[in-house]
Subunit: 345 residues, 4 copies
């Protein structure tokens, strides 16, 4: 059994990790830390876990994390980079669900997350945990920066086009929408139900942290630094789900290509990426509470491609992807513990 520790289990990515790991056939969760809630049973905070998770929150000091095989950080930005070095030195594999190990550019990290990076050497070593793009590196990694929720959907949507150089990479538009669980479990006015339900709006219109992450990764995927993606997030009145509507201008090769066949070939054998039949429009509910991404590719104008992508932001967009990475890092079958059927209706 893989011994797992979770740092910061009180947020939504934490409870989602516990939902998945408590059913994982090869995992034993050893400890879940929360300074603030130490002593409280996890299932007292999340009654959904009654009968499935019997652990209490413990302080980091009591957690004995260095005896774990894998430690997940489901914490605010900045926590993992303060603790990763010691765990790695103890031979523990580390997966950070926050942003500490996503942005390779230190200046960008500091600009968007408001703090200096405390361990650039580890950042340089860290592997970006998107298995469909980075599988082999993940298998060998000891430190994972787990992708952001929006960037996961945008990368998987654009990857086939960028890899095959079929579009003008300089003017991509990613019009995205997310459920409110993406904002986490912090008490804030703008995510109150009386504010965020029965409502829809764009947000982050002056720039959003996932913008630089998207551009960094799309440039790596394309092998082309000219990639530039305008990322516009919107807030959906639902809890779980991300929908990305991606636009690009096809170049002449792109206009000649069979895009449907291209996408099907690109993702053939990928257990968690489902290319829908031509003409489809994926629904967020079709992946609810599952680790699957569904993609449809359209060519609404001769020179324009539109890609529609749905994911559950807490599963494939966060905790499910982290478990997928863990499976790869630990030599397990990639899908273990991730075979939940989406909940519909």
């Amino acid at each position: 059994m893989i011994k797992v520790g979770i740092v910061g289990g009180t947020g939504y990515t934490g409870v989602e990790l516990l939902r998945l790991l408590s059913q994982h056939p090869r995992v034993q969760v050893q400890a879940i830390t929360s300074r603030k809630e130490a002593g409280m049973k996890v299932s007292d905070m999340y009654p959904s876990l009654r009968g499935h998770v019997d652990l209490p929150f413990v302080t980091p000091d009591d957690a004995n994390l260095s005896a774990c095989d894998v430690v997940f950080f489901a914490t605010p930005h900045g926590v993992a980079m303060a603790q990763a070095r010691e765990l790695l030195a103890a031979g523990v594999k580390v997966i950070d669900l926050a942003a500490d190990f996503r942005l390779q550019n230190l200046a960008e990290f500091e600009q968007w997350y408001g703090m200096a990076h405390s361990c650039p050497d580890l950042l340089a070593e860290a592997v970006y945990g998107l298995p469909e793009i980075n599988r082999e590196a993940i298998k060998k990694a000891r430190l994972i920066g787990n992708p952001g929720c929006y960037p996961t959907s945008v990368q998987l949507g654009y990857a086939p086009l960028l890899k095959h150089k079929l579009i003008d990479p300089t003017h991509l538009i990613a019009n995205c929408a997310s459920g409110v669980s993406g904002a986490g479990r912090k008490a804030e006015v703008h995510t109150l139900m009386a504010e965020a339900s029965d409502n829809f709006k764009a947000y982050g219109v002056k720039g959003h942290r996932h913008g630089p992450e998207i551009n960094q990764q799309l440039r790596i995927i394309a092998g082309d630094d000219s990639v530039n993606c305008l990322f516009v997030p919107h807030l959906l009145p639902l809890i779980r789900g991300i929908h990305s509507t991606l636009y690009a201008r096809l170049n002449s090769e792109g206009q000649a290509a069979d895009l449907q066949a291209l996408y099907e070939a690109f993702y053939q054998g990928e257990r968690f990426v489902d290319v829908l039949p031509a003409g489809s429009a994926p629904e967020t509910r079709s992946v609810r509470a599952s680790n699957t991404v569904r993609i449809a590719v359209h060519r609404p104008l001769p020179d324009t491609v539109m890609v529609l992508v749905v994911e559950d932001n807490l599963t494939k967009g966060a905790s499910g992807q982290a478990v997928q990475c863990m499976n790869l890092m630990c030599g397990l079958e990639e899908h273990l513990g991730l075979t939940q059927v989406p909940v519909l209706p």
Copy 2:
């Protein structure tokens, strides 16, 4: 024109007051206070008011409230009782939307609101602002305790039965449900959209502040101190709306009565109470954003009466009722500014 001041306009009852008063043909809103937001335009916080309310928030010192005819307190509990005396002395009529002037029993007030009452003499003078029950007293009042949202629906539902002494008053059950706007605009985890939407639960199961208010008022209405009502609130995954399902055991007079005719007669001429045809089930949406209460009376068992009541908790359950009281206190037609048609769908 009636000169109106609003103390504490940043919450939901504040913005609802502004929605109603900005359209009121005989009102001029003079000042809206908020220490914290002083200087900010009200419409910057609530863009829905752009083009309708051009005032900024001001500090209480700058508000010159004593020059107003009427001042509404849309504040947390405890604020109105600290400021009412001075305003009343200046000849200003005061309407408190919080609970400072609802509970006549000082011990109950202290128990449920966690503070001593600072002006028992004013409390004794204050009139409970439920026009359908207390109209004449309201007309003459200079200080109003505006009813709680739940108590409004429960009182209007039980009043005909209690006034006519048709039920066993000692075992009333008020099974109620409210939208989340009733919890106000405070940043709290339990009313986050990711917590409160797609969910339903009872709350306050160990006792709720509206319980003693309900019992106080039902006893007054019945003229019978043996009235005892078990009040059980539930939290609905919607923003506006209260639905009360009221149960009581009919006595022999009650079993002999024509309850439908009784309710229609009791509320005849009441502009804001609509008794539905026999066999109806009122919907919260049928009163959305309006000052109307709709009521249906049923006799599901020979000795049991069930009354269904819907109201908009922010309108008839709070700000609309306060405006209705203001109209009465100022000698205006009772319905002025309150003729909005419910928004459906």
Copy 3:
């Protein structure tokens, strides 16, 4: 492997059966019938099942249901009773998720379902499929009437009180609320999103089909024909979830009893019934997409007990319970295929 057939897989109980059975370790789904959709892949109607269910809908003639070990009817009322005899004769176990085998009183069945019962002898043989109440009979049954969604929650809530004769059974009040998936996937105006969301109401106020089922079963549980329960359903603006608020008057034994201890003892060892700690208020989301019922018992007044029950109407209220029955009938461990952790948030 248990060979399973599903008659009528296009509705919500059908897709929920498929969600559960496609993950069941000892089940092979052989055929899913739909006359109307024959030839269509199930996953074309329900993309959530892509990668999990590869079968097409087939006509009943092509389904070869008599070769199955178990056949579920996820059909409108009246279908199962027309087909059960032939299947039973072929040695197939039959579980009807509709109401054909719930009401033992033929007149009541005819009154509430608008059709004569076509096989009273089978009805007499059928076992009511509520395992926590009827486990031994279910194990030996070949024909199951799977309980209604509301009746499941009401029975489990009242059973400890009735079995121990602690309440006045003649005046029970079950104030219940359900999500819209309970109405099924029929195209009807009143369950359109623009009608049913942002709304709350009672319905079935002149009587609801689950009323006689509730009374039949509570009488059996109590061993007392005087049981009478007023059942009042309400429609919640959410998809999945039932919440029942149950009231009863305690007799002197009841007032002397330790109700919390009683409930914990009554349901000790029950995997799918979770008695919450004293003072709790269960949330529908705490059982979302799981087969668990959570119960809290309260004594808000000295002589009054209130029981709060939550379930997922499609899982424990329908398809999950049916699978639980199948496990028992087939000699499998009762929880197989039903260990999903509730999805929260």
Copy 4:
């Protein structure tokens, strides 16, 4: 008083017309027709109108529409064109809320609405009822094609840019999202609450009826037949509200322009178009149940403009706009009956 008739008052645009017209100070609603519901009181179908609308539905024969000053068609496509000629001949002004008089190209009409146009001469005469673009023509019109909901938001968003020729008109992208009330009150599976809530998706991905309407009108506004707009609608899990996120590439004049100032100038004096301060993101709830459109203009990249537009699809996107046209046609002040403050929260 203006005598008004409404043909087809059972749908959402019908009830919204009644909400607005019942409060209009210069209107008397004379008749509301519905063949199917003739004899039923309108307020029995829509209890929200109890106390505001006392009329029954009548058959067209009983409606005496030719005695009206204005007749609104809130009917399915194809009805208005069958009845308009006779009404116009009787001197009645006609406003069609459906699509019969929107598309000037007969072939496009036939392609998208599946029927031949029965009165091309009237179509040629009809005025497109978008007052901010077409005010003078509307004042003189006797026949109005009321704009589609999406096209209203897209036109008002792009108009300043197109009129001033600041963008490449050949590659516009209108990424739009609408609440479910836009689909009307027809009983259909895909708009059931259990299908459409807790979900988000694109739809009409192979083409949507509002696409040709948008292109027709943008070409007229620009005076440029090269305009081409890719219109992609999405379905929001809420009832009322449209949000349009509009993209375009700025030409060199556009890059040099002060877009904020341009928008403010363009809409100066427009009562129902609110240009938000720079940096804003309009919310659908900020216009809920009102006739206002709010617009924010952004320049996220040096050569790219993004315009965000919100409207209530039933008010400014349908019935409110129709009343605005009526006011203009009848020589009334344009805002009469349309001064409702948006309902927030």
